[in-house]
Amino acid sequence: MSVAEAPEERAAAEPESEAWQPKIVAFCCNWCSYAGADLAGTSRLHYPATVRVVRVPCSGRVNPRFVIRAFQRGADGVLVAGCHPGDCHYSTGNYYARRRFLLARRLLEYMGIDPERFWVKWISGSEGPKFAEVIREMSAAISALGPNRKAREEE
């Protein structure tokens, strides 16, 4: 699944009616959150099917522009999920990511894009329940915000 095409393909198929469901793109670190998502699945934990996971080697790999691109192509919420500070597979990638996203989220907010649509969470490989919980929470929060209409391409 590529960053560019995943959300948009589905957007075309789902008209925004009363059956509207938020679309959440989650960039998950291969070494932790991706495994956490896996664990949530194999543990049969229930969480909304609103999330599309994009596997990345590290939260430090996620350039803030990935977030805008997801919003452009129809995401209602974007999650970056990485290892807890101190636990990075590459030792420091998530620390850089933290600085970057602290700034990027404030810049998004400054530009008028709802910062509540953009989440960063630390989820380890063993935290399947936390992954499910974050997705549940985020789905609820994004559902309350409604569809993203800002910085989004016309269909």
Binding site: E5, E8, E9, A12, R73
Partner: protein, 394 residues
């Protein structure tokens, strides 16, 4: 004014009292039909463009008397910065191609003679020749240019250096304000139709045929309005024998001096009413997508970079030379005219003051051995500037 022979005689000239442009706009809307949108120069911004203008709230002619021309040219209303060439579905497996529909008709109200003349230059390129840019042509036919004679040239204006004038007759309808009256002149079949509709309205205070003597005076006065740089920018000599001087202009050493400060941005080309270069690119989304044409600029580094990496204009020198010679020599070779109307926008937009007047001055020096086209008055001014600017800086 002689009786019109009905086909190609003198244009209809009307006058009406007051300076409201509302009746004229209403006449244009009646001719162009439902859904026609009106755009006019905006006020109250540091950098001004054209903006939507609501019929019923059309400014009076006096409004323009207070404004210089817009900083951003109205070019985009006929050659939009972004427009769909086509949309496709089905990918390479099951390809279907669709051409977009033409947009609604438009009125450009209060366009300056220079900008209307710029569209005439674009017409020659985009509609003329063996191929017709149908998208441009369609939009052109659905757009009315209501030109306002220019009463306030901006400080970088030099239309008269390029064979035009603030009163130049261009566009579909030309409006000349004079005292408390307006002279309204048809300048195209579309303009005739609009003035017909205006005249048909009749009523008290309505438009009546203009007194030819008065009209002649008004137009002459408008055409002789001076521009700040008209006398200082010396380009007319470049039109005499563009083919013959091409080599000398291309080889000029002046480019070495002029080009290095260029930032290779596209500001000059994007504010220019006559720059028409465009790019065509695909924007795929899965198996569907759209092919868009967008403005492009010869000043961009990769404008001409080919698939293998070869770039015939790799440096600023080549690119700056291309822009100015296109305007001052290549276009004249092809069309017998400059590709410049002297609106001065590039001068104001260039962040590093690369001035077409400065370039023209340097080029004039290249062809000095030929009969030098320097009028005495302008020559003195240029000489002074030359002493300060050029002499010691070879």
């Amino acid at each position: 004014m002689e009786a019109d022979d009905g086909t190609r005689g003198a244009p209809t000239m009307l006058q009406y009292s007051g300076t409201s442009l509302e009746p004229l706009v209403q006449a244009a809307l009646r001719v162009m039909g439902d859904g026609t949108r009106v755009f006019a120069p905006e006020a109250g911004r540091e950098v001004r463009a054209f903006a939507p203008c609501e019929p019923g709230k059309v400014p009076a002619a006096g409004y323009w008397a207070t404004l210089t021309n817009t900083d951003i040219s109205p070019k985009g209303y006929l050659l939009p910065q972004t427009e769909d060439v086509m949309r496709w579905r089905g990918g390479t497996g099951n390809l279907a191609i669709e051409e977009p529909e033409a947009g609604p008709p438009a009125v450009l109200l209060g366009i300056r003679p220079c900008d209307a003349a710029a569209f005439e230059l674009l017409d020659e390129v985009l509609i003329g020749g063996p191929f017709v840019d149908q998208t441009y042509r369609r939009r052109r036919e659905r757009t009315v240019l209501i030109t306002m004679a220019c009463t306030k040239p901006g400080p970088a204006c030099a239309c008269d250096a390029f064979g035009l004038s603030p009163g130049h007759r261009s566009g579909d309808v030309v409006v000349y304000p004079s005292g408390g009256r307006l002279l309204v002149l048809a300048n195209s079949p579309k303009g005739e139709e609009i003035l017909g509709a205006l005249q048909a309205e009749g009523g008290p205070g309505g438009a009546v045929p203009a007194d030819p003597g008065w009209a002649g005076e008004v137009v002459a006065a408008a055409c002789s309005t001076p521009t700040p740089l008209g006398e200082r920018i010396l380009v007319q000599g470049l039109l005499d024998n563009p083919q013959g001087i091409a080599g000398a202009l291309f080889a000029s050493k002046a480019w070495d001096r002029l080009a290095p400060r260029c930032l290779s941005c596209g500001a000059c080309t994007y504010v220019c009413p006559t720059c028409y270069c465009f790019a065509v690119n695909d924007e795929p989304r899965g198996q569907s997508g759209r092919r868009v044409r967008t403005w492009d600029s010869c000043q961009f580094k990769d404008f001409l970079t080919m698939a293998g990496g070869h770039n015939p204009r790799p440096g600023k020198l080549e690119r700056v030379r291309q822009r100015f010679l296109h305007k001052l020599n290549y276009h004249p070779q092809r069309y017998g005219k400059f590709l410049c109307v002297g609106c001065g926008r590039c001068v104001l937009a260039c962040p590093v003051g690369l001035h077409i007047g400065e370039v023209a001055e340097a080029l004039a020096a290249e062809i000095a051995p030929l009969p030098a086209p320097v009028p005495p008055a302008a020559g003195a001014a240029a000489g002074a500037a030359g002493a300060a600017g050029e002499g010691s800086d070879a």
